[in-house]
């Protein structure tokens, strides 16, 4: 009996030694230690032994079983290590990865998203109004005098349609300011509006495209002052261009605001010292002002009780003013070459 046990042990150990993978090791385990494995059967034969020999046999059985189990475990460890090594040896970490598809959002969309989030954080609500408008919304209610150059054929696109008896000719919105009138005629103050839309002007050169985008902010409440407008401008400039940039307002003229301002941002290239790209350290961003009392009146808002401020800037303009973008021709933004689109 003892010899048989030693034989089983040796056979098991040699099988284990020869096993080339985890699967054959598992088979060996079953062959010897399984329900009808060789060692299991040998152990069952203990009943045939005289009682006095049984304790010694028992010790031996345990020894054999332990040896086989340890050998199995040892071998399993070394086999899986080998497997890992084999797998790793096949990876060239410098080979290209398998990439999921990734397209591109247009620069203008990305800018609009940034601008929107910045203003939403201080309570401005985004709106959408018509791109094709009546003169009344685009000019008249905005206090443009009848002979203002913007209302002639040279600057604004007119639609070949009959004028409205009350609202006048049909035009392509030359600015987002028509949204001020839409907003104020449809809502009661307090108002905090952000209107971002396509605009159209009859011009095309390095700094103009016939179709472009503007974003327009409008706030109307009791007791709004120039200081409040400055607060919003500073907040936007720091949020959009960076904390180190500052803004300033200068006197300017627009029909629909009084006072009117031109808003400048400190130049990001020369840090305000003055360079080729800027005017004495400043870049012009666009217009702003306190809503003209005539505009409030035209929208049915009591200009003695309420005041407001508004600003409207080119999306493309602020995009081109960002540090490091190096876009110097606005027409490039509307290039449909993939070579351009895939860069962003």
């Amino acid at each position: 009996m003892e010899e048989e046990l030693i034989g089983i042990k040796n056979a098991a150990l040699s099988f284990i030694l020869e096993a080339e993978d985890l699967k054959s090791l598992e088979e060996t385990k079953l062959q010897f230690l399984g329900r009808s494995g060789k060692l299991t059967l040998a152990i069952k034969a203990v009943t045939k032994l005289p009682i006095d020999k049984r304790p010694a046999f028992g010790i031996l059985v345990n020894e054999v079983k332990q040896t086989i189990e340890e050998a199995l475990e040892e071998k399993a460890k070394s086999l899986s290590a080998v497997r890992k090594t084999n797998l790793l040896e096949k990876i060239d970490v410098t080979n290209p990865g398998i990439k999921p598809p990734l397209g591109h959002l247009h620069l203008v969309t990305q800018a609009i998203e940034e601008i929107t989030e910045i203003f939403e954080k201080i309570g401005f609500i985004k709106v959408k109004y018509p791109e094709v408008e009546w003169d009344w919304y685009a000019f008249e209610a905005l206090n443009f005098p009848p002979n203002h150059p913007a209302r002639d054929d040279w600057e604004t696109f007119f639609i070949d349609e009959k004028p409205h008896p009350k609202y006048g000719p049909m035009v392509l919105t030359p600015h987002t300011s028509s949204g001020q009138i839409r907003e104020m005629t449809a809502n009661k103050p307090p108002i905090k509006m952000l209107n971002i839309a396509k605009c159209y002007r009859r011009q095309s050169d390095v700094s103009h495209v016939p179709m472009f985008h503007q974003f327009e902010g409008l706030a109307v409440d009791t007791n709004l002052s120039i200081a409040n407008l400055k607060g919003v401008l500073d907040y936007f400039v720091k949020s959009y261009f960076g904390k180190e940039r500052v803004s300033r307002i200068r006197p300017y003229h627009f029909e629909f605001t009084e006072p009117s301002f031109e808003v400048d941002v400190s130049c990001g290239v020369c840090k305000g010292k003055g360079c080729k790209l800027c005017k004495e350290g400043w870049l012009e961003m666009g217009g702003a002002g306190m809503v003209h009392p005539n505009v409030l009146k035209n929208c049915g808002i009591d200009s003695n009780k309420y005041s407001g401020f508004a600003f409207g800037w080119g999306v493309e303009r602020v995009l081109m003013m960002k540090d490091g973008i190096k876009l110097d021709d606005v027409r490039t933004i509307y290039s449909d070459r993939m070579e351009f689109l895939e860069q962003f």
Binding site: P100, P130, I159, P190, Y252, E258, P259, D336
Partner: protein, 643 residues
Amino acid sequence: MNIKIVDSWLREYLDTRQNPLEIAKELSLSSVSVERVEKVDNDSVYDIEVTTNRPDLMSILGIAREASAVLKNAKFNDLKTIEPTKSSAKFPIEIKNDPRLVNRICAVVLEVKIGDSPKEIKDRLENSGIRSLNNLIDVTNYVMREIGHPTHVFDFDLLKTQKMIVRESKRGEVVTTLDGKRHILSGGDIVADDTTGKIIDILGVMGTTNSVIYENTKRILFFIDNNNPVYIRNTSMNLGIRSEAAILNEKGVDPELCLKALLRGIELYEKIANAKVISEIFDHYPNKPRTTTIQVDSEKINRVIGVEVNPQNSVEILNKLGFKTKRLGEKIEVEIPTIRADVGLDEDVIEEIARVYGYHNLPSIIPTFLPNKVIGFANNFYFEKRIKSAFKYFGFSEVYTYSLISEDLFDGPIENAVKLKNPLSKDLAYLRNSLIPSLLNVISNNKTYDGLKVFEIANIYLKKTNDLPKETPMLSGVLKKKHASFYEVKGVIEKALNDLGIKNLIFKKSQKSSIGASIYIDKDYLGEIEVLDTDIVDFELNFEIILQHATNSKIFKPFAKFPPILEDISLICDAQTQEIINTIKNQDEKIVDVTLKDTYKDSRTFHIVYQDFEKNLTKEEVAKIREQIVIVLKKTFNTTIKE
């Protein structure tokens, strides 16, 4: 409009110790934008942008007055005109004016000696960006730059009839301007007619060759006309003549300046052209502007500016700017000089105070109030952003193409198009009714790319009678690659819309294009997928309909307690896949899902999921349902079932 102001000239009327850079800075912050300060010889030149409402600042005197208000310890010394040696001779020209066209005419006849101007005048003009020609022309430009009113000079001896009628031009009349260019007038220009029908000047815009001075000029008619700005703008734009005189005149110049300009001109002619006054001064002034007064409340000044401004401070600012004031308790009464036609409301007066007080001296305060409306989080902009980003991650690149298109790119009869009255070019003459032609342009402009996926969300414009066009946002895209697949585009649309919470998409064989699908959300028509050729598949979806159905509401379905039973069934028939799926699904409510698993030749395999949420399904129950499916399929589609 930009103007160049010479520093030494400015200082003739401005007392200040500040240097040009300091002056430039203060002007920019509180008055006009000084874009550059250039050093020239011993002088400096300011390049200044003047806003269109302030033609009074298009002059040395105007800027000097502004500078005296914005600079500390500065003083404005106004020009004092000298009375010329009077002539008793009658003004020899008979002028007939139309007061609708011209507000004022001041004129005088002088005997002169033509020649070069002295160096100082030449230098000042050249540094101001004005070419020096001869003393007779130079004086007109010198006066215009100094005072801000355009002036003109005729050769007196060329005015043969000694008569002048101011009238509107007729369409088709021909003139040759002093720069030698021939113009055919379109009518409605202010012209001077010598009563023979000959035009001898386009007033306020440019002189004509038949009446201007030349090298042998002996006598001149020095002529200052103040015109209706609307006419000037039209003429200047129509003829493409953007002379400084035209640019000034179209903004409206104060007619009160006319006589001052005339007297200053006579003084200069006497000084540099040996001039002798040989007629009395003609001054025809039918449209005299009135001065107005405005009352401004101190409390309102503080409210608009956002800080408290001492009323005495306000008064001093206004006085320096040329306004007369009177204190009436908490109010200030302000008299507006005619030169400041841009000031008409108390807000305008507040602006004057605020800018000189200094915008840079005001605090920045973000207003914390909230608007009067609440919009939900999952609004249209949210879904637009979300679907754009889905397309990006599906490998599509977003493009922005022009809403304005050529006739060729319009889909359907061109009479239906929203048409521009004054297009910039033929390529940008109509508003589009589909984004697809523009997107196909993008494809053809990128020929070197084998695989392209592009998309755009933008409005289309549909004509309406007596109303603004209907603007509808569309979501459109094109897939181009070798053997572009309809199914790839369909899959993208399905997944992108699923992400917006839209489930009930129905695809039908297209009625519009020869190969493609019409897509519906329930009963709402959404748009089309069109297989254009083997390599190009495009789609156009009504984004407004998508927004109507988009939702981010969520419903939790409890986990199934009992496992489903899965089965495949293969069959051969002609019916559309969707029809077969619907038929199978309708047989029993325990069929929770049916999908097309595989197609091989004309055989299709459907994967069926049976599930009972109440108990374990038995094989027998499933067999019974399956039997029912087979019977119905055979009956409905006359199909062969492969067991």
